[in-house]
């Protein structure tokens, strides 16, 4: 319960609450500097022709946006980011749901140990995992290729990250492995909310394990599933660390997702001038798209919460 300051005059109320403003200041100041200002600034920067080397940055209106719309690399990176989302989200969530259901079995004594091991990659540094995977997946004596060749599954080593046809999908696979634990923990938390009385009642009525899963557990998970899908979808667009360290967007731009495209244009142009204004415009366009998805997410969240509330009433 928030306590109100009772005073008739605004200035008196402001004075009575002076310590509240002092307490807000550090956090609010940092938020202005590093959250609110950067958003406003990136809109402004996107209208400039700015190399970052000099203070000269002439205003060029919407020219950056016009150029972006005609830039095939931009649209390819844009498409790849969403392809990344479209492939990894269903794979990750389906596998995580299966493992969560298996781990949710009370008879499984070692479940906490398995949960820990499945979760382990989540806490590790993406950039270092990316570099480690370059070795693990290397066609020259990397352990994965050694195992594949030794088992006779492939005739010669696969260049997972060096072949434009496989590079992006390999990063996707590593991303699924890396983030799997988060989805598993979400599903486990949702599974905890299935009312045990319902399961017991159905068991007394002679329902088998599959019946319980199909008619009680899975329907109960539906409202949670919407939330989990949307949280996962937005997070699947943030894969800079893994992509940059595993492939750098290559070979031949084959795995260049949006964040890597922005980074390349702003900070890592080989032999050219950095284009901070142009990269800002790309950031604004992509940011708007992500924001639209997030807003849809908010809508769906509200809808899911209502659905859950209705279900609660019916019981």
């Amino acid at each position: 319960m928030a306590r109100a300051f009772a005073a008739p005059v605004l200035s008196e109320r402001l004075y009575a609450a002076r310590w509240c403003y002092v307490f807000m200041l550090p956090s609010f100041g940092l938020a202005i500097l590093f959250t609110f200002w950067p958003i406003a600034a990136s809109w402004y920067f996107s209208l400039l022709d700015w190399s970052g080397f000099s203070d000269e940055r002439p205003y060029i209106g919407l020219a950056n946006y016009v150029e972006l719309i005609g830039d095939p690399y931009f649209w390819q990176a844009f498409g790849r980011s969403f392809l990344f989302m479209a492939v990894t989200v269903p794979v990750r969530l389906t596998l995580a749901l299966i493992v969560a259901i298996v781990l949710n079995d009370a008879a499984l004594r070692l479940a906490p140990l398995f949960r820990t091991l499945f979760f382990l990659p989540v806490v590790t540094t993406s950039a270092i995992v990316g570099l480690l995977m370059v070795f693990v997946l290397s066609p020259f004596n990397g352990p994965v290729n050694q195992a594949l060749v030794a088992s006779g599954l492939v005739g010669r080593p696969i260049d997972f990250l060096g072949d434009p046809a496989t590079a992006l999908y390999t990063v996707m696979g590593v991303s699924v492995w890396k983030q799997f634990g988060v989805s598993m923990v979400y599903w486990l938390a949702a599974l905890q909310t299935v009312p045990p009385e319902q399961l017991d009642a159905a068991r007394v009525d002679g329902a088998g394990r599959w019946d319980l899963l199909r008619y009680i557990t899975l329907p109960h998970l539906r409202p949670f599933a919407i939330v989990i899908v949307l949280i996962t979808a937005v997070s699947a667009l943030r894969v800079f660390d893994l992509v940059q360290t595993m492939t750098g967007g290559g070979p031949f731009f084959a795995s260049e997702v949006m964040e890597v495209y922005i980074y390349r244009n702003a900070f890592s142009v080989q032999g050219g001038t950095p284009r901070l204004g142009y990269a800002s415009a790309a950031g604004v366009l992509f940011g708007l798209t992500v924001m639209l998805i997030a807003l849809t997410q908010a809508r769906a969240l509200r809808w899911a919460r209502q659905a859950r509330g209705d279900a609660g009433l019916r019981q």
């Binding site: 306590r3 938020a31 979760f119 693990v136 949280i231």
Partner: protein, 293 residues
């Protein structure tokens, strides 16, 4: 009478059979999951193993157990590849960021959750709106800001940029926690002669231990693992690099030294894995909390 007994025996026999069945099923499931988990964590096992082998042994494969542990790999990584320097940088950045974030979000959450005053609703709305704003696409203005503040030649710039931002989830966690504490606490503190700050620091803050723990762990993980921000902010200052950025920069240079790279990766990952194993309940609950609300 005998009919009841036999039906009871039957039931018991059925129950025992069911239990035995579920135990057998659990054993088989455990074996399968154990095999999957071995593959799952294999990259890390391979990393530690390679860090203790010679480069020739790494290339030849030949089992996970190193024939004779090569501790020199760690020494080489620590000094020649400057991992020691990067480790120190990462520790300084992580500890400072966590301290700043806990202090600022706790104070903000206290004011927002405990009191109603002019402007509170606007600030709450602004913070809530940041949920919908994608981070990571605003790296250019942050880079520009740090340069303009002339903070680009110290670790302080990276610390400020990482501690900056709204951290709306932590603020809301603190606000929610403080809002449900009883008012008698404050009244007792006021009777004892404590002002606003002392009430917060001596009465309220010590009660918020669980929220502080969640904030510390999630922010520790995010700072230790951060890559894009320190990468961009240390482009011209190699001595300020963090572990991830430093190893990324050396990737090309030391490409043939697999065991040295594996040792460097082990040094970088062991602290965060150790903290996770020690405090895993908090990690899991902190992350699961996102969908429980």
């Amino acid at each position: 009478m005998s009919a009841t007994t036999s039906s009871l025996t039957l039931q018991r026999r059925f129950a025992v059979g069911w239990l035995r069945g579920s135990r057998l099923r659990a054993t088989i499931t455990s074996l399968i999951l154990g095999a999957i988990c071995l593959v799952w964590t294999y990259p890390f096992l391979w990393m530690v193993s390679a860090a203790l082998k010679t480069n020739v042994q790494v290339a030849s494969g030949a089992g996970l157990i190193p024939p004779s542990p090569q501790w020199g790999n760690f020494e080489r990584a620590w000094t020649q590849a400057h991992i020691g320097q990067y480790f120190t940088n990462t520790v300084i950045i992580t500890v400072s960021t966590v301290a700043i974030v806990v202090a600022t979000t706790a104070m903000m959450g206290y004011a927002l959750g405990r009191y109603d005053y002019p402007g509170r609703k606007i600030v709450l709305a602004l913070y809530a709106a940041t949920i919908f704003i994608p981070e990571g696409y605003t790296i250019i203005p942050v880079f520009d800001l740090i340069n303009r503040l002339h903070l680009n030649d110290t670790l302080f710039g990276i610390i400020l940029a990482e501690a900056g931002g709204a951290h709306v989830i932590f603020v809301l966690l603190f606000a929610g926690f403080f809002s449900q504490l009883p008012h008698e606490l404050e009244e007792a503190a006021i009777v004892d002669g404590a002002g606003f700050v002392r009430t917060f620091a001596q009465v309220m803050l010590p009660l918020s231990g669980p929220v502080i723990a969640t904030t510390i762990i999630l922010q520790f993980m995010s700072s230790w693992n951060n890559f894009m921000l320190p990468l961009v902010l240390t482009l011209s200052r190699p001595e300020l690099r963090t572990l991830g950025v430093g190893m990324f920069a050396f990737q090309g240079q030391y490409y043939s030294d697999w065991s040295g790279m594996a040792a460097a990766a082990t040094i970088s990952l062991l602290p965060i894995i150790g903290v996770f194993l020690a405090l895993q309940r908090h990690f899991v609950e902190g992350i699961a909390g996102a969908i429980k609300q």
